[in-house]
């Protein structure tokens, strides 16, 4: 297996009569051999464009792509040995699953018939498609289609595997099982993999490292823990985590606390110069309702889940509501106090959104 490296990768779409779109602006990224990197970001931030450039389906505007240390930027797609599982599966409707899988092997007529059959059977076994080898794509569930698409990408033993939103068209139940399958298969086969997704949960559960993308650039690169526990910007903090982090505008006080309103102050994790406008970030799971100490709050809504609940609190004089992860039962409109777990708050510059921690 081989590593993948992107250097200063750029893509600008220019079409006559329309302003140029800078879809990717200077991406630097290095994947170790066998690593699964999650490329996470909102729709339109340039994830697919990045993937298509790596695959060779889109010409780069600038920068370099290296596989196993050698530049492949000038090579056509068919000579990069990259496997792609497309978002819409890209299965060939008239062919059966087995024929779809074999199609990729026959490109240069390099495999003998017996070998093709053996490889198809092997990959089908691995991905769990043995029962549907004779079915046509139209008769498959979306989870099965996704696995065919994956098998089709894997059967040629590519150096690098690219997955574009592999789970986005699956229903909730299939998504969970397919996600686990995906992880198992990638671990077993050990491909260097980029997984593109806009679903933070998917990235957190699958990836070794996550690159959070925004407007064509990487906002933060790190392990899921780093991304979640130490978001580099307010954008990353907001994008990762469900329910989303509370981001409250405040002003730093001289005593090391953030003033949210005249009566509401929250201790800051790091010293911030007094008078500086900041965004205080607190994850709903780092807050707790207590009868005793903490900030006085009023419960305005509560959404019970099975073993927990999500409460919305109003703080005195604070415009934005606070979302808190609670137990399944909370009394509405009851005067409560909310306690912030010590040291778990985040603080960002109000202007730039950069973490001050």
């Amino acid at each position: 297996m081989t590593g993948l490296e992107l250097r200063e990768l750029r893509k600008t779409y220019r079409s006559r009569g329309r302003p140029a779109v800078e879809a990717v602006r200077g991406l630097d990224l290095a994947l170790d051999s066998g690593e699964l990197l999650g490329l996470l970001g909102p729709s339109g931030c340039g994830k697919s464009t990045t993937l298509r450039m790596i695959a060779g389906l889109e010409a780069v505007t600038g920068g370099d792509i290296l596989i196993g240390g050698a530049s492949v930027t000038g090579r056509p797609a068919r000579r990069r040995n990259i496997g792609v599982a497309f978002e819409n599966y890209a299965l060939y409707p008239p062919l059966t699953v087995a024929e779809n899988l074999a199609f990729g092997l026959k490109a240069r007529g390099r495999s003998a018939r017996g070998e093709v059959r053996r490889k198809v059977a092997g990959i089908a076994e691995r991905v769990g498609l043995t029962d549907v080898l004779d079915a046509r794509p139209a008769g498959l569930s979306s989870g099965q289609k996704q696995r065919v698409s994956l098998a089709r990408a894997l059967i040629r033993a590519p150096d690098v595997l690219l997955l574009d939103e592999p789970l986005s068209h699956l229903d909730a139940a299939q998504r969970d099982t397919t996600r686990r399958e995906l992880k198992r298969i990638q671990r077993e086969m050990g491909h260097t993999t980029i997984l593109v997704t806009h679903d933070q949960e998917e990235a957190l559960s699958l990836a070794d490292r996550i690159a959070v993308m925004r407007d064509g650039a990487i906002e933060q690169l790190g392990t899921p823990y780093e991304i979640y526990d130490h978001p580099a910007t307010a954008f990353v903090a907001d994008f990762v985590g469900e329910p989303a982090i509370n981001l409250l505008p405040a002003v730093a006080d001289a005593d090391g606390r953030a003033r949210l309103s005249a009566g509401v102050r929250i201790p800051l994790p790091v010293p911030v110069p007094a008078g500086r406008p900041v965004l205080v970030g607190i994850r709903p799971e780092d807050l707790a309702l207590t009868g005793a100490d903490g900030v006085p709050a009023r419960v305005v809504a509560h959404e019970p889940l099975l073993e927990s609940g999500i409460a919305t609190l109003a703080l005195d004089g604070v415009e934005r509501h606070l979302v808190v992860l609670t137990g399944p039962e909370v009394r509405l409109a009851h005067d409560e106090r909310v306690r912030v777990a010590a040291g778990l708050t985040h603080v960002f510059d109000a202007e730039t959104g950069d973490s001050l921690r």
Partner: protein
């Protein structure tokens, strides 16, 4: 709310329309079955005879109708085949890539369909005389490209545009070349479109009148013009023209019936996406 017509009323309206649109055909059929001496009687009692068909197909009037028929077949099939060979790659390219001047090119091609043929027929006539293409198969197949090529390119373009490019891209990643991706992936998926557009182009080519009228005389003349030869001479022989016309609708009709299944799917292109 729109009220629907009651069933029987709708049926009646359809039958009425059916009779209305089939009337000219029926009239011709009657005409073609009449003996020459009862041609101009307006009542419907006559002794039906197949004499007209015998005369037309036997060529006994000195008019080689069977050859005209064969010419039509050769020229129409040739025109459609050439249009497919040239038009399918063109349609594919224009659906997949925007290149310099591509939209102008496409529009120019389309303009052949709505520019009246008569506007170019005189210069074409002169050119054909000089190039030795007058009254030849090559000349007819070539000039019919004005009719068939825009159809093929425009209709097939929308078929290719409806195909997800990811199918071909997957093939490219597998190691297929662009050309292979076109032939092995894209082309087989637009077969219904090819069937529909071939039929349509064939009918348009078959029905064309102006080009063979001006650009052929005897060797390469087609049925549309040939059928009218029976009207010349001392007395117009309407029953022979009617018989000739009826015989000449047979190929398009047979073709339409055989590929009807494709046709319904094929001609609703763009309108309904699966």
């Amino acid at each position: 709310m729109r009220k629907r017509l009651p069933g029987w009323l709708a049926d009646a309206a359809l039958i009425l329309y059916f009779v209305f649109s089939l009337f000219p055909v029926a009239w011709m059929a009657i005409l073609s079955l009449k003996p020459a001496n009862q041609l101009f009687s307006t009542y419907f009692s006559f002794t039906p005879t197949l004499d007209a068909y015998r005369t037309v197909l036997g060529g006994s009037e000195g008019i080689p109708f069977v050859r005209f028929f064969g010419n039509s077949l050769v020229v129409s099939v040739g025109a459609v085949a050439l249009s497919l060979v040239v038009g399918l790659p063109a349609a594919y390219a224009s659906a997949r890539w925007r290149f310099k001047g591509s939209e102008h090119l496409m529009f120019t091609l389309l303009s052949f369909r709505f520019a009246p043929e008569l506007t170019v027929i005189i210069p074409l006539f002169v050119l054909y005389q000089k190039l030795g293409l007058f009254d030849t198969y090559t000349g007819m197949v070539w000039v019919l490209q004005l009719v068939t090529l825009p159809l093929v390119v425009w209709i097939m373009r929308s078929y290719f545009a409806d195909l997800s490019p990811e199918l071909e891209q997957a093939a490219l990643l597998d190691g297929y070349s662009r050309t292979q991706a076109f032939f092995k992936v894209a082309l087989p998926l637009v077969k219904p479109g090819i069937a529909a557009v071939s039929l349509l182009a064939f009918i348009f080519a078959w029905n064309n009148f102006v080009f063979p009228l001006i650009l052929t005389s005897h060797e390469a003349q087609t049925v549309t013009v040939g059928a009218l030869s029976f009207l010349g001479g001392d007395r117009p022989k309407y029953h022979l023209t009617a018989a000739a016309a009826l015989v000449s609708v047979v190929p398009p009709l047979l073709l339409a019936l055989t590929i009807q299944r494709y046709l319904v799917r094929g001609l609703s292109f763009g309108a309904v996406k699966s």
